[in-house]
Symmetry: C2
Subunit: 161 residues, 2 copies
């Protein structure tokens, strides 16, 4: 038995001579990292046909439900750097999904708005997004998924809410 209590199930090194990870499991950064790999794979598997990466999907959906979003808003919502977002928007703009329009009230800012093609893709992608994590979340009950989402969201948003 290892010194630090293995999370309860005595972590019986499963098949294929897996390693004892009990001394890493107290770090939620470690757990989110591994869980995220699975969820990312699920996303790519289902969104490949639409040629959408997670960031692009998120941008589409945010824009579909938020008028007059500028790049700062998007950066903050998605934890992206301004330079990174600029490149992603370039790509999406070349693809005809959105356009940047200078704000009248603050001519430094650009409103990012979806084209018709962008709106259509956002709608279709949002429709497909339900259930794409089904396989990855199979080990969790409906209630557990709900709780997990809320706990993660608390961390993401920081102390508030």
């Amino acid at each position: 038995m290892p010194k630090t209590a293995p999370s309860k199930t005595a972590s019986p090194r499963s098949t294929k001579s897996d390693l004892d990870q009990s001394h890493l499991s107290h770090l939620l950064g470690f757990q989110t990292s591994l869980a995220h790999v699975r969820l990312q794979k699920a996303f790519f598997a289902h969104m490949k046909e639409l040629d959408l990466r997670p960031v692009e999907f998120s941008i589409l959906v945010l824009l579909a439900h938020n008028d007059k979003a500028n790049q700062q808003n998007l950066c903050r919502s998605l934890a992206l750097s301004a330079p990174r977002l600029a490149l992603i928007l370039d790509r999406m703009q070349e693809r005809g999904l959105l356009s940047r329009e200078r704000s009248d009230t603050d001519r430094r800012a650009h409103h990012v708005v979806l084209t018709e093609a962008g709106q259509a893709l956002a709608l279709e992608a949002e429709r497909r997004s339900h259930g794409i994590e089904e396989a990855a979340l199979a080990p969790l009950s409906r209630g557990e998924r709900q709780i997990l989402g809320e706990l993660l969201s608390k961390i993401a948003r920081g102390t508030r809410a």
Copy 2:
């Protein structure tokens, strides 16, 4: 009121004109991504003095508690590709933290073993690892952190346990 129920708290677009994210929140991949950003920052802030990245930390700790681990074991445990792991181990080996020793029973495989310096660093890093996420996890109670870890771990390990 948006079409899909905003997780319960009516998501009142908080300060600085944040965007409505309620149509993304059903994707746990989105939530893990944002939460992970916070947790990563916490890790770097606390491990900078030891010059350890998350992967390097994980490798050190795994090796400290697992004799005769080969690179395949590490790849599977950490969801790394073999080429990626080879480069990381090169770096750690040049730094004098570990060595690779051909297995006697299967001369294709390399056992990865910590040097004395590696063991010392593993011990120190593991000691420091407790509490580094304290600030990022402040919004969660002790019990919630426990639950969160278990739910994430279920996803990471797939269907089993």
